[in-house]
Amino acid sequence: MSKIKSISGKRKTVNFFSYILLIVLSAIWIMPLFYVVLTSFRAEPGAATPYFWPKGFTLKNYYNLFHPTSSMPYDFFLWFKNTFIVAVFSCILATFYNLATAYVMSRLRFKMRKPYMNIALILGMFPGFMSMIAVYYILKSLGITQSLVALVLVYSSGAGLNFYIAKGFFDTIPKALDEAAWIDGATKFQVFRKLTVPLSKPIIVYSTLTAFLAPWMDFIFVSVIMGDNHKKYTVALGLFKMIDAKQVNQYFTMFTAGSVLVSIPIALLFISMQRFYVSGVTGGSVKG
């Protein structure tokens, strides 16, 4: 009897310390994000204050984002619109490229299949920023730098290389289904459209969302392509430029307000699809 008691007593202490540890750790984890939200409502300007809790609260930071003046030329709404347009179009193209390539690699057999997959692996190992200047000059020779079209092309064109996650998913759909449909006289395209696509909703959602999110995150390619034309900036680049060293004190609270507005939808999308994210990353190793 006493032994059981001591075990449960020991368990209680372990549980107690587990909870303490979790609370401390999650506080550390959340603190910076909480600080962003707090700062976005802070009335006092400046990059930092010698106290944690703001002395005054205001909505001015949010208001300023949407009301550009000649002294504060940053037009958050315009950036948001740019990003949204780019995100929608590049996500449509990228999702199609991604699924089409994945389906072809998973289901069809042709001479260039294995070489294509190897080339995709090899291309992925070059640092992405290596070719950004060349991309810029190619877009320039096509006459489309500083345009949203260029951004759509840049964000969607590589999608045919990121087919591995979707291919892993298609691989799990039994091939017998396809074969049965072929015997019934369906063409391969019909099989794709009427059989594979309806069975693949999760991976389609995942591909669409990741493609949709990419333009919201990138601030490198867009800065190379747009240069100093800040009317064509996306949200990420605009916010990034807002707090470069010279003006961080002036715009920091506005930056945090913009960050909150962008982060909330993105964080919700990410959390809602973390399940797919996990199976995507580990998909190559664990099956079923």
Binding site: L25, I138, S259
Partner: protein
Amino acid sequence: MDKLKKESKTNIFKFYSKTFIEGDIFTKLSFIIMGLSNLLRGQIVKGLIYLSLEIGFIYFMVTTGVSKLIGLRTLGTQGQHMEFDESRGIDITVPGDNSMLFLLFGVSTLFIVAAFLVLWNSNVKSAIKAQQMKQAAKKLPGFIDDIQSLFDKNLHMSFLSLPVIGILLLTVLPLIFMITIAFTNYDHNHQPPGNLFTWVGLKNFDTILLSGETISKTFWPILGWTIIWAIFATILNYILGMLLAMLINRKDIKFKGLWRTLFVLSIAVPQFVSLLIMRNILADQGALNMLLKEFGLIEKSIPFFTNPTLARISVIVINLWIGIPHTLLITTGILMNIPEDLYESAKIDGAPPFIMFFKITLPYVIFVTTPYLITQFIGNINNFNVIYLLSAGGPNTNEYYQAGKTDLLVTWLYKLTVDKKDYNYASTIGILVFVISATFALSVYRKTSAYNNEEEFQ
């Protein structure tokens, strides 16, 4: 046809000579006049497409292509210079050759030639196929049939065409262009249109790897730090993340989903937000230093990003903030799959918890996540965001060429490209990074069953 296909794989020249000998006059002529065999045997649209593409190609080569290829050899001979303008009686600046455009158009022309060769190859195959089918008295597929086959037997062609064009135009072409730049002297002293640049062979590799100049004294320490960073970032995130996952997975812990979400929030927020905030909090005049001073805990600011050693520790530690939740996400499910009886029997044998961790948990999870670990390691070698957004490579130092103490090879590459315009060195470093990642990945990855038994998985 299958037999032909096999032969073309083993010996492509044998295939052409055999086709040429076996072919009748139309097939033979198709080697020069593309599409003729198809055209005269009733596949009119197909034949006309081949023929018009050939005419277009020849027109392009004669008018521009050939001169672009010649330009590729020299990359321009005439720099920008002053010339006496007789009509106005003054010296004026005459624009010279633009080496960059010479290179870009030259490489593009090579691409077009390669595309034409592929087309020509398919033309020869189609010519002999048309002849054989005619001889066997089969009905030749018309244009409509060909289109229909794109949705069935040749679905891969229609599905892949757009993605492949995108990849060729905006991934492969830029990459080849940049690789060629690694063999030129396109640095900040040789910027077109004012100046020419030209081929220099392997000189850039020699300068960076062996020369003993500042730039090679920068490369080796940065390479060393990149590898140290990648090892620490990968292993610490992995082990600590797994421990956190085990903590949350404990039977008695309630609200598991809530805890996980709290931690995952730090990676759900875009990195340019979360990391820039971290940089500002930890800056010399940042919130943390101000608070600590206010409480009287420190007198001088802690140089989180301005002291070389501390800056390196800072980036590794802050990287835990986004790395641990990643591992938490990945390993939670895997940990729950470990058979419970393994632990039971270990407990009976009296194994302490840390032995169980190293003998059961770790080997099991590593076995399942090897490909993930490889991609993480390579991802960390190329981890641009964390370094660039946190320390921006700083603190800068005069010992290095255009780099700071926390710069990785990729952030250095970025600075050389954007700030300094030393494209030749940037490209050379890009190639070296590729060689490092590829050697590492291939040597490990090719051994895993996921790669070798790709077909068997299905």
